[in-house]
């Protein structure tokens, strides 16, 4: 790290403004927000000094919403309206969620993603998550003293497209600008790697409340490269609680519990599990709704026994990740343990035995993900000087493909491809005069469509009538740095372009999203129009600044009339910003963006050319 900065003559710029950006760990059990202050990442606390916000949301019939500890305390008394572990429902339908019969909620099975009927109305998991994010955003703005330019929100590495989209949507609903969706183990690796200045191949073993990830990374000077990732998006501490819960039912001869008793015993089960981290046995007592008092003693041996298969379930993905990275156990220098559930001695032992080394526990497993996310947010917000920052290369966790004959999957983007990635495949018509085609996009590793997740159906219409086989339809999958997919299809043989663009929305139709936005504004008593206007103005201002600094650096790449066109659009945008019409601001922003397209491309060409200049000569003959 540079201790003093020496400005070269003519290079000194205006004092750099520190932009407020945060990292958010939106966890199954707890959520956190962290930020970099004076060069160090810290978790931001609430007024009581607590960093962990329980990921629990309670809806009241009055429309009021409790989030966090208060909601958690009312879990047993109002379990139907108190949503815990909502992360398990993100981007999921009713049939996708294990043990859903034990969840004390009134589910509504909407296409794509389930919803929950509460006393305040039907809520999507996206809305419930947005409540949690809103509290964290308010906490951060109070603590940092200003509006945020954006947030890095973490997701389990093994989250699929639907779950990622849902998370991004929740952040949007909470009024957060998502700088990047960051994989949780990768965030942990950043925090660990920077803190300990390590190099080499490391594994991050991340067992949270509801999700399991294993990532293999290569850490080198200034580069974090994910080699492979694997996991189980439905395996976590909750499942261990559930095993204890079932054991309790069996021990005490209980059947058919009401929602309140179910919640109570699940809480008792979790407490017993946590007690076993430090003690050899844990005593469970509880008074049920009907007055009956139950008692049981859970020993470490029993716990090990009833959760053995769960522990084993973490090892198969670990093996697969190593294999995909083309590495042996012996290549791994260390295993970083992340997530509260790695506190279980059973997990520590299993991981130690598998890798043949002591797991690394020197960072707080609850906080490390938020801290890493905050560091990345600091980089993305542009608060770090070039050379003082790092490069992060992450991968897509699950393969993407298209349905083919016999309900089989044709893989187009393989899992563990480094992001961003694009792949195209060409198709042609099967019948004479065929003018339309229908595609089904899926994600997963299995060969049969039914075993993979269905992401989107889309149709390409307007293909000019030709004989069978003459049309050339190019289907392109582009996965961006957030791991989000867009698909386009285009007929290229005749030059006639019929393009469609699919951003899979996973059951959340546009109307749903606007309804949620409306609801959230009513709830927050904010003016929707005002916020839209503000956001449009912020975007416009950011763009003008970006264009100005690009012009300053590379103005010679433009012909004088090109420069004039850009200047003209800047002026138009500036006058649009004075209006009260957010659409006018947006239109002028888009226009400025379009007119700078070529300029942006030329600038990048030059950058890349500069990187390779000078090297070409000495490396031509090695």
């Amino acid at each position: 790290m540079a201790l003093l900065q020496i400005a070269e003559p003519g290079m000194s710029s205006a004092p750099h403004q520190h932009r407020l950006a945060v990292g958010i760990d939106l966890g199954t059990t707890n959520s956190l927000v962290a930020s970099v202050r004076s060069g160090t990442a810290v978790c931001l606390t609430d007024a009581q000094g607590r960093a962990l916000l329980p990921s629990v949301v309670r809806y009241h019939s009055s429309g009021a919403v409790d989030v966090g500890d208060l909601a958690q305390q009312s879990q047993a008394e109002d379990s139907r309206n108190t949503i815990v572990s909502v992360k398990r429902f993100m981007g999921r339908g009713v049939s996708d969620v294990a043990h859903i019969e034990n969840a004390p909620y009134d589910f509504v099975d909407a296409p794509g993603m389930l919803q929950i009927r509460t006393c305040a109305g039907v809520r999507s998991p996206v809305e419930v998550s947005a409540e949690i994010l809103r509290v964290l955003r308010a906490r951060a703005e109070a603590s940092l003293g200003g509006p945020l330019v954006g947030a890095v929100v973490t997701v389990p590495a093994y989250f699929d497209e639907a779950q990622r989209q849902a998370t991004k949507e929740a952040a949007r609903l909470a009024g957060l600008e998502v700088l990047r969706l960051l994989n949780e183990p990768t965030a942990a690796a950043i925090a660990y790697g920077l803190d300990h200045a390590v190099e080499g191949v490391y594994a991050v073993f991340d067992l949270g409340g509801g999700t399991f990830d294993i990532s293999i990374l290569r850490l080198t000077q200034g580069v974090f490269e994910v080699l492979a990732t694997n996991g189980d998006a439905a395996l976590g501490g909750d499942d261990f609680d559930h095993r204890v819960f079932c054991w309790l039912l069996e021990q005490c001869g209980l059947h058919q519990l009401g929602p309140r008793d179910t919640r109570l015993l699940l809480t008792k089960a979790r407490e017993a599990k946590e007690a076993l981290t430090l003690h050899a046995s844990a005593r469970v007592t509880a008074q049920l709704d009907n007055g009956e008092v139950i008692e049981a003693t859970l020993t470490s041996e029993i716990f090990t026994d009833i959760t053995r298969t769960l522990v084993q379930k973490t090892l198969a993905p670990t093996r697969k990740a190593l294999r995909d990275a083309a590495l042996q156990v012996s290549d791994v220098k260390g295993v970083v343990m992340v997530g509260g559930s790695t506190r279980m001695p059973q997990i520590q032992q299993a991981v130690g035995a598998f890798f043949g080394c002591e797991p690394l526990n020197n960072l707080d497993p609850d906080k490390v993900v938020a801290l890493g996310a905050a560091m990345q947010a600091d980089v993305l917000a542009g608060n770090k000087a070039a050379g003082d920052d790092w490069l992060l290369l992450d991968v897509i966790p699950l393969s993407l493909g298209i349905e083919t004959m016999g309900e089989l999957v044709e893989r187009i983007v393989p899992r563990n491809s480094t992001l961003p990635v694009a792949r195209a495949q060409e198709f042609t018509t099967f019948k004479d005069g065929q003018t339309a085609m229908r595609f089904h996009v899926v994600q997963g590793e299995r060969e049969r469509v039914g075993d993979c997740r269905s992401l989107a159906h889309f149709e390409l219409r307007g293909i000019p009538p030709m004989v069978a086989g003459a049309a050339r339809i190019r289907v392109m999958f582009q996965v961006d740095a957030d791991g989000l997919l867009s698909v386009t299809a285009r007929e290229i043989s005749t030059g006639v372009e019929a393009a469609v663009s699919v951003k899979p929305a996973f059951g959340l139709a546009d109307e749903d999203i606007s309804r949620m936005l409306r609801d959230s504004f009513e709830h927050a008593k904010e003016d929707m129009h005002l916020r839209a206007l503000n956001e449009a103005r912020v975007d416009a201002q950011r763009l003008i600044e970006a264009v100005h600094s690009a012009l300053e650096a590379d103005h010679e790449l433009l012909e004088s009339e090109e420069r004039a066109a850009i200047d003209c659009r800047i002026e138009e945008l500036q006058s649009a910003m004075k209006s009260e019409d957010h659409r006018a601001v947006k239109t002028a922003t888009d226009a400025l963006n379009r007119v700078t397209d070529t300029f942006a491309a030329r600038r990048m060409d030059r950058q890349v050319a500069q990187v390779l200049k000078g090297r070409r000569v000495n490396e031509l003959d090695f």
Partner: protein, 213 residues
Amino acid sequence: MSKTNAAAEKVLTFKPTAALTRCVWRVAAMSTPFDATSAALDHFALFGLPQRYAIDQRALEQSYRDVQTKVHPDRFAQASAAEQRVSLQWATRANEAYQTLRDPLQRARHLLELRGVDCGLETNTAMPADFLMQQMQWREALEEACDDRDLAALEQLAQELAQQTSARLQHLAQHLDGVRDDLAAAGELRCLIFMQKFSLAIDDAREGIEGHA
């Protein structure tokens, strides 16, 4: 072998909807940069490397990182939409080029493409007779090992495969960089791709046995 043929000429159908004719037919798989006229984009040139099979892995990695450091979307999180789009395209292209060049088989295939040689991976399934015999023996050995759940036998098979692969890779290198014979290289490449698939099958078998241990 017929399996590959079938895969190459797979007819795709989609779930019935009344309004549409649903049958499409795959023409060719291709990896893709953003440029639509992409067939012969030179990945070697992108990283300033000579167009040949033997490659300096370190120089490749270094160039790749240098390029990504400049073009990666993380560098443009605060930039204009136009710059973000260009960054996405460039970073995608750099990944594509890097993944292609660091894998020996993909690198060979790319080199042959640049030289205008059709490797016939999807159409030419004619293999030398001795190679086919070898394949059959291996398949039988694999099936037997699976039936007996014999990890040691699988390990031995994997080693044998690895040895033959490295011998063939040497031939490939000679055909591409030494006494140049692109057609022989293409033939060698087709065999190697079969062997790579077989190697994955061994891994799957191992995983199946270990998973149930």
